[in-house]
C-alpha cells in the first residue's frame, strides 16, 4: 500500500502539472514587421480575463554591458523581480512609473536588489547613470503568458476553459495587439497575431526628472 502511494506521488512529481479537464492549450504565431536594421526584441503573449496567484520564483533582469537583459519581462502580479549587476561598474536602477516607483540606489558588480510588483500594469525601468539602459516589466494578472521564439511561435498551456482576450506586446509597438480567445477543455486553440514594430526607444529623464547630462559637455 505504502509502495503504491509512493509510486503515485513520484509519478505526479516527475510528470509535473497534470493536464486538467477544465484547461486547454493556446498555440500560435505572432507575425512581426519591423523596420530594416532593427534587432529583434522579446515579444510577450499573454491572456487576460482571469487571475492566478504568483509563483514564488524571482524573475531576473540582468545589467550587463550597459544593457538590461532581457529588456522585456512578464511577471504575475505579486511576483518579485531581481536586478543583478553583472557589469564591473555601478548601476542605479530606478523606475519613474507612478504604478511602481522605486530607486534601488547604486550597487556594484555581483550584487543584486529586488522589488515586488503587486499591481498589474506596465513599468519602465532605467539606470540613472547610463541613459541608454531601459527595460519594461509587464505585470500580468495570471501566469498564462509566454515569450514568442525568434520565429514568432508560442505555446501557453494550462489555460482555464472560457472566453478570454489574448494580447501580444512589444516595446516597439504603438500598442499591444489583441484578439478574442475561446479555450475548450483539453483542446489546442490556434491563434495568429500580427504586430507592427516601428517605435524606436524614446528618450527618458533621469530619476530626478531631468535630462541626462551629456558626458562630452562636462568632460
Amino acid at each position: 500500500m505504502v509502495r503504491a502511494v509512493l509510486i503515485a506521488v513520484l509519478a505526479l512529481a516527475t510528470t509535473g502539472r497534470a493536464a486538467r479537464a477544465d484547461e486547454g492549450t493556446v498555440r500560435g504565431t505572432v507575425a512581426v514587421t519591423r523596420p530594416a536594421g532593427l534587432e529583434p526584441e522579446p515579444i510577450v503573449v499573454y491572456i487576460v480575463g482571469f487571475t492566478e496567484p504568483p509563483p514564488r520564483r524571482t524573475v531576473l533582469i540582468k545589467q550587463r554591458n550597459k544593457r538590461f537583459i532581457p529588456p522585456l519581462v512578464a511577471v504575475t502580479a505579486g511576483q518579485a523581480v531581481g536586478f543583478p549587476n553583472g557589469d564591473p561598474f555601478l548601476h542605479n536602477v530606478f523606475s519613474p512609473t507612478p504604478l511602481r516607483r522605486f530607486d534601488l540606489g547604486s550597487f556594484p558588480e555581483g550584487e543584486s536588489r529586488e522589488r515586488p510588483f503587486p499591481s498589474p500594469g506596465v513599468v519602465d525601468v532605467f539606470c540613472n547613470i547610463h541613459p541608454e539602459m531601459s527595460a519594461t516589466i509587464l505585470i500580468l494578472p495570471n501566469r498564462r503568458f509566454a515569450v514568442a521564439d525568434r520565429g514568432g511561435r508560442f505555446e501557453i498551456t494550462g489555460v482555464p476553459v472560457g472566453s478570454w482576450t489574448i494580447f501580444a506586446y512589444s516595446r516597439r509597438a504603438r500598442k499591444p495587439v489583441e484578439a478574442p480567445l475561446v479555450v475548450k477543455p483539453g483542446e489546442v486553440t490556434e491563434v495568429a497575431l500580427a504586430l507592427e514594430e516601428r517605435k524606436v526607444e524614446k528618450p527618458h529623464r533621469n530619476k530626478f526628472g531631468e535630462t541626462y547630462r551629456d558626458p562630452e559637455k562636462y568632460r
Binding site: D103, L104, S106, R113, F208, G209, E210
Partner: protein, 249 residues
C-alpha cells in the same frame, strides 16, 4: 557675444518652469517636519547636501540661531551617514556672538525596507550622533532619536523621541529630552501641510525647558526637498521657526 533676446529669455524661463513641473519625487532622506527627523534615508551611495536654519527666540531672555550643514551619504539601503558642521549665533541681554559650535558624525538607520510598498505603513528610524564642541576642547555631545512614522495614502504622522547629552567640562554637563510629534497631509504635487509640537526638557544641568506648537509645510521637487515650521511657544519660548532643505546628487 550676442545678447539674449526677450523671446529667448522667455523660452529659458518657460523651460525652467516646465522642468520644475515635470520633476519627479526625490527619494532622499527627507523629513516632512521642521524639528522632527524623518524615517526615510538616502538610496545606497546616494548623496544629499542637507542644511537647517533654526531659531529659538525669547528663550528666557536668550535668542539663538543655529545653522547646520552636512553631506549625507547612503551607506546601505538602510543606513546613512551625515557629517554635520554647526555654527550658532546666540545673544543674551543684547550682546551676541557667532561661533563655529560643533562638528561630528551621525548615523541614521531605517529598520524597514527603503521601499514603501514593502515597508508597510509603519516605519522606524534610529539616529545616533557624536559631536565635538569647538570652543570646549574636551567637550563632547551625544544625540539620539527614535522616530516612528505612520503613512497611509496622503496622511503622514510621526513621533520623534530625541535626547542629547552634552559634557562641556567636568562640572558642566546637561541632559535633555527632545520629544516631538506631528502630522502632515499631501495636498497638491508633493506639497504637504500639517502641524507639529516639539519640546526641549532638561533632565540634568542648567537647561531651559520649552515647548512650541505650530504649522508645518514641506515640498519635494526633483532633487530638492524643503520643510519648515513656525511654532509658537506654549511655555519657555516665544517662537521657534526652523527651515530644512536639501539637494540630492
Amino acid at each position: 557675444m550676442t545678447r539674449p533676446t526677450r523671446r529667448s529669455r522667455l523660452l529659458t524661463v518657460a523651460s525652467a518652469l516646465a522642468a520644475l513641473l515635470c520633476a519627479r519625487e526625490a527619494q532622499g532622506g527627507r523629513t516632512h517636519y521642521g524639528w522632527l527627523y524623518g524615517t526615510e534615508v538616502n538610496p545606497e551611495r546616494g548623496v544629499e547636501i542637507e542644511s537647517w536654519i533654526l531659531q529659538e527666540n525669547g528663550k528666557d531672555g536668550e535668542d539663538e540661531t543655529l545653522a547646520w550643514w552636512a553631506p549625507v551619504v547612503g551607506l546601505t539601503e538602510h543606513l546613512e551617514l551625515a557629517i554635520p558642521l554647526e555654527a550658532a549665533y546666540s545673544a543674551e541681554g543684547g550682546e551676541g556672538s557667532t561661533n563655529f559650535e560643533r562638528f561630528g558624525g551621525e548615523l541614521r538607520y531605517r529598520f524597514n525596507s527603503p521601499d514603501p510598498l514593502v515597508a508597510g505603513p509603519i516605519t522606524v528610524l534610529a539616529r545616533g550622533a557624536v559631536k565635538r564642541l569647538v570652543q570646549a576642547r574636551s567637550g563632547m555631545r551625544g544625540e539620539a532619536d527614535l522616530v516612528v512614522a505612520f503613512e497611509q495614502g496622503r496622511f503622514h504622522a510621526e513621533v520623534d523621541l530625541g535626547s542629547i547629552a552634552e559634557r562641556v567640562s567636568e562640572d558642566d554637563s546637561e541632559v535633555e529630552l527632545r520629544p516631538g510629534g506631528g502630522f502632515s497631509i499631501e495636498t497638491v504635487s508633493l506639497l504637504r501641510v500639517g502641524a507639529e509640537a516639539y519640546a526641549e526638557l532638561g533632565v540634568h544641568g542648567e537647561t531651559k525647558d520649552w515647548l512650541a506648537i505650530g504649522p508645518t509645510v514641506s515640498l519635494t521637487r526633483g532633487r530638492f526637498w524643503a520643510s519648515g515650521t513656525v511654532p509658537i511657544g506654549v511655555f519657555g519660548i516665544d517662537t521657534a521657526p526652523r527651515i530644512n532643505f536639501a539637494i540630492a546628487f
